[in-house]
Symmetry: C2
């Protein structure tokens, strides 16, 4: 056991020397919004709840859900169970150079997440909100605007705007 432990220490030390960039990369990966919400690993591989679109901000969005979220949407379970995570991907819309009648995704101004943890986020309807711009969390005053809008408009749908689009 002791021998195993010292092997691990030696390997970790070697990794630190050989790959000095690694700890920074790991640190960046778990950067947290002021709410404690982090960018969930693998979120880009999640299934689609629904797309949405805004003319005023010239954006196309796609809302994805983790497996707990998708199960809840498909079975109309409300409130969403703890562990539900929703991801809102947004892109500025640009005209397709190959088919100008169609708008396609341009730059991605932000990604946003809603994480359900009814105890941790009891004061905001059980949801933790996270907004990230270029991988960095938006400031606290921006995060403070999330829940009031969800509360004002979709209280009866467990504070979630998006519905499943079959």
């Amino acid at each position: 056991m002791r021998r195993y432990a010292s092997t691990v220490v030696v390997l970790l030390a070697a990794a630190w020397v050989l790959f000095p960039v690694l700890p920074a990369a790991i640190a960046a990966d778990v950067v947290a919004a002021p709410t404690g919400v982090t960018i969930p690993k693998g979120y880009r591989n999640w299934q689609v709840v629904a797309p949405s679109q805004r003319d005023d901000t010239d954006e196309i969005r796609v809302i994805l859900g983790n497996s707990i979220a998708m199960k809840a949407f498909r079975k109309n379970v409300l409130p969403f169970p703890d562990g539900t995570i929703l991801a809102k991907l947004a892109w500025k819309r640009v005209k397709s150079p190959e088919f100008p009648k169609t708008f396609i995704p341009g730059v991605a101004p932000r990604i946003e997440f809603m994480v359900k943890d009814s105890k941790k986020y009891a004061s905001t309807g059980g949801w933790g909100f996270g907004r990230f711009i270029d991988g960095k969390p938006a400031p606290a005053e921006v995060h403070a605007t999330c829940f009031p809008c969800h509360q004002a408009n979709v209280k009866d749908h467990d504070f979630v705007f998006t519905r499943y689009a079959p």
Copy 2:
């Protein structure tokens, strides 16, 4: 073996009597477009390649890909390998009753698929096109319009309009 076979026959006969709707449902599930393209099982669970949107048709779309497609998109593999399937889900856009600045999915006028089979569909760039309206394939003359448009506009991208939106 013979006993096993007769048990299967009895069970099938019982199923036919007990669930007379079953054979019709199975038949509907494998209905083919004039091109031979069928609605792939589980396509709604596939990952997102990208969304798109059109003002002229008032539609929001999401293009999904099977695992072969997603791998090719993420590794910039061209031409797409045989077995690639793309699904284009479309919805008429409607104003969200809860947040009228946002358009959300309304009725779904059609679903479309592109299936890569370089031998079977050699005459249309290696792609089989399938359009379904309410689960029923569109007529042959509609399918005849697919490839010419893809050929005219995106020949250099293996006849695929959509790019991966990270």
